[in-house]
């Protein structure tokens, strides 16, 4: 095929791009040329696959479940934004949606009255929604019934009280004016009420009596077996008709039974402490929003080491740098340091896969690092591998390396890069990863010799590769670190000749001047 023909074809295509009106003969010629010329045929064919046709928007379809989750996350985040705006402008009430789904018949009723020193009305803030289903999307408002299925919800009631609604719970936000009144119809509520001032009375009213609670951490659970009150901190005064007032502190009381309060078992106390720690991770109002998804879902999300919930998870958290970890049995957990800023949102989706035993033998110089960083996990990895997939896609290895790199786990990142390079030596991704590995070895693991080998190998194989500039730079830095001044100067000369427009060219020319001056001396 003549080169001129291909150039003519390109010219016609560009003219069409520019909206030129071309004679039919030209178009016909182009079609004819494309049908016989392999290069132009392939180009036309693959370019045609890019075009979005009417009704064919989905070039990269996902499964229905992940679509639904993605829609859910967007809708939730959007509603949160609107709710936040409406909390700043109380007149904007359009975004108060009631939860769908019917209420289960109440097996017991508890009215919990929180007489906190709030004046006027209160706008509750949804803090946490973990493993949520479609219907648990709302901006809490007075009169609203919160029904949880498998999900968990945390709601801030003003600044001084937080409510954690356990799965399988129905509670109504009965009153939000001049105090808060919650009606627990079934399930379990954990409350953390911090006193402000001397006394913050809290009243719990049931058919069996009335309980007054002062600033405290406590839990109320309603079931067929009655209403259980567990108090971890503070004092709860229980008043029941025909009985003297009873004070409950660090105790467990069943309101249906006539037995006296029992001391709080350590297991219950620990559970309440855990709940409180979780609630204290959460923020409100202007704090940051965190949205965590994973495939598969249901993975545990830990923040600063504390379990926060299961994916998919939405939470408002206190701003700052947090250590996030997403883990599930049988898969490689991911850890990441996140900076969450007030008033902003952070979304993350993780693909969790079974860990893989390192397959290839790394270069001899790397052995020390590898032993140190993988020996603790090698056996479990081998076990998991037998039970699951035989190998891990290169993309996932790269992702692992990036996650580790962000968490500044340099050796772990190097292991992932190295596995990728060794296992998929012919993939372009592996070539690029080899340069990333070299950069990491040079910057953080002080191994300039190995870094130099990797960069030189990359440049030999891919002289015009996608990261040739970065590889050349890395090579220069490695030579500098090794004190090989003449080689460094030679590499710089090559670099500035080849990457004239590079942002590093000026600095490198200056460095070259220094090296040449030193050489003359």
């Amino acid at each position: 095929m003549k080169q001129n023909d291909c150039e003519r074809a390109l010219a016609i295509t560009e003219a069409l791009d520019a909206g030129a009106s071309l004679p039919d003969a030209e178009r016909a010629w182009l079609a004819q040329h494309q049908s016989v010329c392999a290069r132009c045929y392939v180009e036309a064919k693959v370019v045609a696959t890019l075009a979005l046709a009417v009704g064919d928007d989905d070039h990269f379809p996902a499964d229905a479940l992940s679509d639904r989750r993605q829609v859910q996350q967007v809708v939730t985040a959007f509603q949160e934004d609107v709710a936040q705006a409406s909390s700043r402008a109380p007149a904007l009430l359009a975004w108060r949606w009631l939860l769908g789904g019917g209420l289960a018949a109440a097996s017991a009723a508890v009215v919990l009255m929180v007489w906190a020193p709030w004046s006027g009305s209160l706008t509750p803030q949804l803090l946490l929604m973990a493993a949520s289903q479609d219907r648990a999307v709302f901006a809490p408002a007075e009169g609203q019934t919160l029904t949880t299925d498998r999900e968990e919800l945390a709601v801030a009631l003003g600044e001084r009280a937080r409510l954690l609604v356990a799965p399988q719970t129905t509670v109504q936000l009965a009153k939000l004016h001049g105090g808060v009144e919650l009606e627990l119809l079934r399930g379990r509520l954990h409350l953390d009420v911090n006193p402000s001032g001397n006394h913050v009375p809290v009243a719990v009213v049931t058919d069996d009596g009335r309980m007054e609670v002062k600033g405290t951490i406590f839990e109320v659970a309603a079931s067929d077996a009655g209403v259980d009150l567990r108090v971890l901190r503070g004092v709860v005064e229980v008043q029941r008709p025909g009985r003297p007032a009873q004070r409950v502190s660090q105790q467990h009381l069943n309101l249906r039974r006539s037995a006296p309060p029992e001391s709080l078992p350590e297991a219950d106390a620990e559970r309440l402490r855990t709940m409180s720690r979780r609630l204290h991770l959460l923020g409100a109002a202007e704090d940051a929003r965190l949205s965590i998804n994973s495939t598969p879902s249901g993975a545990s999300v830990r923040l600063n080491g504390e379990f926060l919930g299961s994916t998919p998870l939405f939470a408002r958290v206190k701003p700052g740098v947090v250590a996030l970890e997403v883990s599930a049995p049988g898969v490689t957990s991911v850890a990441e340091q996140l900076e969450v800023k007030a008033g902003t949102g952070v979304m993350r989706s993780y693909l969790l896969q079974a860990p893989v035993k390192l397959a290839a033998v790394p270069p001899a110089d790397f052995n020390d690092d590898l032993e140190a960083s993988t020996s603790a996990t090698r056996e479990p990895q081998a076990h998991t591998r037998r039970a699951t997939k035989p190998s891990k896609p290169s993309e996932l290895l790269l992702e692992e390396a990036q996650v580790a790199r962000e968490a500044q786990a340099w050796r772990k990142a190097a292991d992932s890069y190295r596995t990728l390079v060794n296992r998929y030596p012919d993939e372009p991704l592996a070539h690029v990863a080899s340069v990333s590995l070299a950069d990491l070895l040079l910057e953080h693991l002080h191994k300039p010799r190995e870094a130099l080998q990797l960069c030189s190998a990359y440049l030999n194989k891919n002289p015009n590769g996608a990261v040739a500039e970065e590889a050349s730079l890395c090579e220069i830095r490695a030579l500098k670190a090794l004190g090989r001044a003449r080689d460094e100067a030679a590499s710089i000369r090559q670099f500035v000749a080849r990457f004239r427009d590079s942002s590093h060219a000026a600095t490198l020319r200056a460095r070259l001047g220094e090296l040449e001056a030193a050489d003359k001396r």
Binding site: E43, K45, L429
Partner: protein
């Protein structure tokens, strides 16, 4: 109508519009960032941006055009952030190990080609990629792209010309894609 319902706080309408936009947004974002690990996050960000901007839609252009413009802008902004963070890495998804020559309409082959093209597109510089995606994926004319990106006609034309040439070179050096042209004159 749907937009008005969403603006009025109608939750089912909000869900419907999000469901309707998701495939288009995902397609655009994938061509912009390839198989990047944070693609889904970016899709969500772009969708959120569209929803938050809904009240500013005045019907002066087609709704899809307006959406594409926002998605493109959001994606480019995010790509720059990715670049700053991981400048050395161009993530790529894997292609099937071998592919028989066959009609490109075969869904598996089609998907593989699209994925490969999305990877190749990420190798173009940002502005050129933006122009190429808007032209080849969405079919906008150079005039429309110039209006959408607040750039003049000649600049867009040049970006497209160079971007196309680069893409052509990438396609030519891709052994997997070139198997599609087997049997034709090289």
């Amino acid at each position: 109508m749907l937009i008005a319902q969403v603006l009025a706080g109608d939750r089912p309408a909000l869900r419907r519009i999000t469901e309707r936009l998701l495939p288009r947004v995902r397609t655009t974002v994938t061509y912009m960032v390839g198989g990047h690990a944070e693609r889904d996050d970016l899709v969500q960000r772009a969708l959120l941006e569209v929803l938050k901007s809904l009240k500013g839609f005045r019907g002066e252009s087609r709704f899809e055009t307006w959406v594409d413009r926002i998605v493109g802008r959001t994606a480019m902004r995010q790509i720059r952030r990715f670049r700053r963070r991981e400048k050395l890495v161009t993530p790529m998804a894997e292609l099937p190990e071998s592919r028989e020559e066959g009609p490109i309409e075969d869904p598996v082959a089609l998907k593989a080609v699209r994925e490969r093209m999305s990877q190749l597109l990420t190798q173009l510089p940002e502005e050129r990629r933006h122009a190429v995606v808007l032209r080849l994926v969405h079919g906008y004319s150079i005039q429309e792209i110039a209006a959408m990106t607040a750039t003049n006609f000649n600049t867009v034309r040049d970006r497209l010309r160079v971007g196309r040439a680069e893409l052509r070179k990438l396609v030519e050096t891709d052994a997997d894609l070139m198997t599609l042209g087997r049997g034709r004159v090289p």
